[in-house]
């Protein structure tokens, strides 16, 4: 099955990333410039993923400004910024979504 082949490749890839420098016994030195650039991988990759995932909730029926999903994500973003709490962010985002949908009938 295709999904298991992808998972196997991903499992091996994830392991190799973790093993990389450990396996080379520290013989390879990452240039400081590259290491500094690494710092930005989580911020940019995760942001790109969030935007890409949110775009699948776009609807031709409503404008982006009245899209319940976008508004819920916007509030959740504020919660994440203030609290840095994963669970609270997801919880508040879902509650806002449910409330907005209940209000719009």
């Amino acid at each position: 099955m295709k999904i298991w082949i992808i998972m196997l490749a991903l499992g091996i890839g994830t392991f190799l990333i973790r093993y990389s420098i450990i396996g080379l016994a520290g013989r390879i030195h990452i240039p400081p410039r590259v290491e500094r650039a690494f710092r930005f991988i989580p911020a940019s990759m995760l942001s790109a993923l969030v935007i890409s995932q949110l775009s699948s909730y776009a609807s031709s029926a409503t404008s982006p400004l009245t899209n319940s999903y976008y508004l819920a994500a916007f509030v959740a973003c504020g919660v994440a910024w203030k609290t840095r709490n994963t669970l609270l962010t997801v919880f508040v985002g879902m509650v806002v979504l449910w409330v907005l949908r209940a209000l719009s009938g």
Binding site: A9, G13, T14, I22, F40, I41, P42, A48, T86, M94
Partner: protein, 237 residues
Amino acid sequence: MSVRSGNQTISKWDVFLKGMRAFMPLLVGVVPFGLITGIAVAQTNISPLDGTMMSVLVYSGAALLVALQLIQSGTPAMITILSALMVNLRFIMYSASLAPHFQNLSSRWKILLSYLLSDQAYAVSISQFEDPSNQKTGHWYFLGAAVAMWLTWQSSLFLGMVVGINLPTSWSLDFTVPLTFLALAVPTIKDKPSLFSALSAGLATVLMSGLPFKIGVVIAAIVGIGIGAIMDERRSL
């Protein structure tokens, strides 16, 4: 483990348990995140058993979730693998940081500890390694913390998946997937360069949303990394 084999054995075991105990305060953060990730995984129509097998294979919640979501939306295998691996590239930094401390271990140890390497295990043990008196047993401490993390993660993920498949679809729980990533993305913004890195990656994603197979996500992330790095260089001048 036999007590008769001497103090060496007992002390290794003690260090292992010490590592496990050091992980305990992190339970408060890991368990809810495992549950929420499990609920999100269940939204991609994966059974709890399959999900657990995948999670053992790909020991990374974020990478697993990215992959499952992209597979569900019909993204080609190569792009799926590339996107999910990008999320995990940060582990190279941990690998580099731990390499000197694992240098004298056997290959078997290195393979085991690499597989178990997580943000949490790293965070808990790195200060131990920096204390020279722990040099001989540091890897047992790491193993203890890493095994505790692994067990906690897999069981809370499984529980989340079981809960997730039983919740009604009218609750739109699929939306927990982007919310989870949002909750992961925001705390990575710590200063001006990382803020601009995130914003430019997000903007680039919108601009490239027309590109096929979600390749735009990978390109956008590279753009974001570049912008962040350039701003960082300028600042440090």
